[in-house]
């Protein structure tokens, strides 16, 4: 129908009609021929005509239920279209509350103007809709139109929220959420993607949820109350518009994801595409610090972050953001990171997780890389690893070239600035700190490596790339000056030799033995390359004669490369550097990177392993 509705009390309307007739007759009886009363008599006559010709006639049509005049009794309000109901919400609410008759009204084609009373009636109307009647596309557009009008005013919003029952919140979340899930799933099942055209089909639903979120936010709705009843999918869509702070959003998100797990396990129908978890995780990604808050909050069950989103890409982006030290405090890291790494170690290579998250090695690299940059400063890894987990994690990472490269890049990034200080900086506390940082990082990975068997040449090569990515960077920080060519050559040669040491091994025993050897070699090479860059700096600055004999290089063919290099370095230092301060600097570098004690211990282990 094109018109609206009206509702009335039949007895009172009949009384009004009688009053109109009486008033009309009274006006008719007022007469005056005075010339000065002429204009006033026209007013009286006009009033009488309006009463008699329009309003009495109109009421006669209504009371007479004259179909030809457009006034028809609506005997079943349930058959009134939802759009018409929303447009005539006050009529519907008042008529229903008072038991009045409702008639079609061709003279009121426009929706009622928005007022607080109408906003209240819209809430009432929605609260009394049949929960089994889904919203048609047209009805949804009308709903959005009405809700958008209401949200424009705080008083209308308050009236609406007050009249919308908790059950109506639940019904809206469920009805609109279910429809959206179905549309998304249908789109996703075609080719596992969602086109803009497909997304437009649920855009009105998203608009409705955005408006509901505005009402819930403005009206101070108790989120926990309706989380408890509505399906988590719809709740997630509302929550995404509540503007919650990081802590509260993380708390509510955990509740939603946990409830979704239960809901999904009990559903007969399955839906492809995004879940409630996806929605709240994307919401958290938009709020600074929320992913980190969430990761800490679910430390007792990290799978809530790592294995609930429908796609690995979102999971990995979320976890990467969550563990970023910009957002995660050291206290938070101490609580959240170990459970995450334990989950990755436990699930990376067994069960269904590798299928669901093929980039798990990359994720592991990202988790480690995120905190690697902080490691030299704190000298303590923030992850309280479960026994063996750190080595297992590195093993997972080196199983994927891109993941190895990612971690190697983090090592290079972390050490590059410090290497430049060691090469070219003043010999002061900052210089010593940088030197210690580089050594600490190297020791960390060396410790990991020795704690975990390398079982293939590929493992060994990956490990070298991760651990000694810094070696490649040394050539880049070499100081300019008379021995630049030489020092650059040393750094490049050191990198090449370290790489060549990791040749193809025949047996696991060979790998183990050669790992010890190659690390010993690599450590000696790094020490030598760092000594060389400092040597070049001292020559360039005029502190050392350019003709000074060059520092020795490790002999990769020696049985115990580190011990051999240490001995030859000390002999060179004694014979060629008279200045105590300069000798002290160079010896400090060598000793920090490769102490005599460590070199001898490694030599002993190699000998033991070979035997």
């Amino acid at each position: 129908m094109s018109g609206g509705f009206l509702g009335f009390d039949r007895d009172r309307l009949q009384q009004l009609r009688w009053a109109l007739v009486l008033a009309s007759n009274e006006l008719d009886a007022i007469r005056c021929g005075d010339v000065d009363a002429r204009r006033h008599m026209l007013i009286v006559e006009s009033a009488r005509n309006v009463l008699r010709d329009h309003w009495i006639a109109l009421i006669d049509s209504i009371l007479g239920c004259r179909a030809l005049t457009g006034y028809e009794w609506v005997d079943d309000l349930g058959r009134v279209d939802g759009v018409e109901s929303l447009a005539s919400s006050r009529v519907m609410m008042t008529a229903a509350e008072r038991g009045w008759a409702v008639f079609t009204d061709p003279q009121s084609p426009l929706p009622e103007p928005m007022t607080a009373a109408r906003a209240e009636s819209v809430g009432w109307l929605i609260s009394h809709l049949d929960p089994d009647d889904n919203w048609s596309a047209t009805e949804l557009v009308a709903l959005n139109h009405v809700l958008a009008a209401i949200v424009a005013s705080p008083s209308w919003t308050a009236a609406f929220v007050t009249s919308l029952s908790p059950a109506a919140w639940t019904m809206l979340c469920d009805q609109l959420g279910d429809e959206r899930r179905r549309l998304v799933s249908d789109a996703y099942e075609v080719d596992a993607t969602v086109t803009a055209r497909e997304a437009s089909s649920w855009a009105p639903i998203d608009t409705a949820f955005a408006l509901l979120g505005s009402f819930a936010s403005a009206g101070g709705t108790d989120v926990d109350a309706f989380i408890g009843d509505a399906h988590p999918y719809g709740v997630a869509l509302v929550v995404s518009h509540l503007g919650l702070d990081a802590h509260e959003l993380a708390r509510v998100s955990r509740e939603i994801i946990e409830r979704e797990r239960i809901a999904l396990s009990g559903e007969e129908a399955t839906f492809a595409g995004e879940r409630a978890a996806d929605i709240v995780m994307r919401s958290m990604l938009e709020v600074d610090g929320a992913p980190a808050e969430f990761a800490v909050l679910v430390a007792d069950d990290p799978s809530l972050a790592l294995w609930t989103a429908s796609g690995a890409a979102l999971t990995n982006e979320f976890v990467r953001t969550a563990v970023d030290p910009r957002w995660m405090s050291e206290d938070g890291a101490a609580r959240a990171l170990a459970p995450i790494t334990s989950f990755l170690v436990d699930n990376a290579e067994v069960g269904l997780y590798p299928r669901d998250n093929p980039q798990v090695a990359m994720l592991a690299a990202d988790v480690m890389a995120a905190w690697l940059t902080r490691f030299p400063e704190t000298r303590a890894w923030p992850i309280d690893f479960r026994d063996g987990d750190q080595a297992e994690l590195v093993a997972i990472i080196r199983g994927m070239d891109a993941a190895s490269a990612r971690l190697s890049e983090a090592v290079t990034t972390t050490t590059q600035d410090r290497l430049a200080i060691v090469a070219n900086g003043a010999h002061d506390a900052t210089w010593r700190s940088a030197l210690d940082d580089v050594a600490a990082l190297g020791s960390f990975f060396q410790t990991i490596e020795r704690g975990h068997g390398i079982e293939s040449a590929r493992d060994a090569e990956a490990m070298r790339a991760i651990t000694w990515g810094a070696l490649d960077a040394l050539a880049g920080v070499a100081p300019t000056g008379p021995v630049l060519g030489w020092v650059t050559g040393v750094a490049v040669t050191a990198a090449q030799v370290a790489s060549e040491q990791f040749g193809w091994f025949d047996t696991v025993d060979d790998v183990r033995r050669d790992t010890l050897i190659t690390f010993d070699t690599a450590t000696a090479l790094v020490a030598a390359a760092m000594v060389a860059t400092r040597f070049a700096h001292l020559v360039g600055g005029g502190r050392l004669d350019p003709d000074t004999k060059r520092p020795p290089m490790p002999d990769p063919d020696a049985d115990h490369v580190g011990a051999d290099y240490s001995a030859r370095f000390e002999a060179w230092l004694t014979d060629n550097v008279a200045d105590d301060d300069i000798a002290g600097q160079l010896n400090e570098i060598k000793q920090t990177m490769l102490s005599d004690h460590d070199a001898e211990e490694t030599a002993g282990l190699i000998a033991l392993d070979i035997s």
Binding site: G7, F8, L20, E26, D34, D36, H40, M41, V91, S108
Partner: protein, 85 residues
């Protein structure tokens, strides 16, 4: 020529009677019966507004008639003074 005092006072009295009739007409209070206790909807809302407007128009008309009557009374007084001289 000066108007007859008696005629002028008769006109003023007639206008006051009309004003009283308008004021006493039940049309002035019709809007009290046409609120949302009786009916509801856009058309009833327009009806209520129309009845309020009618009430206001009638009240203004009655007030103006009384004002006119007072003016005629003054003319009658002037006419009486002239005749007395």
């Amino acid at each position: 020529m000066v108007a007859n005092e008696t005629e002028l006072r008769a006109r003023a009295a007639a206008l006051r009677r009309v004003a009283a009739a308008i004021d006493g007409c039940s049309a002035r209070d019709l809007y009290r019966r046409a609120g949302e206790d009786t009916w509801i909807g856009p058309t009833p809302a327009r009806g209520l507004e129309a009845l309020r407007n009618i009430s206001t128009s009638l009240r203004n008309a009655a007030d103006e008639l009384r004002t006119t009557a007072r003016a005629i009374d003054r003319l009658a007084e002037q006419a009486g003074s002239v005749n007395a001289r």
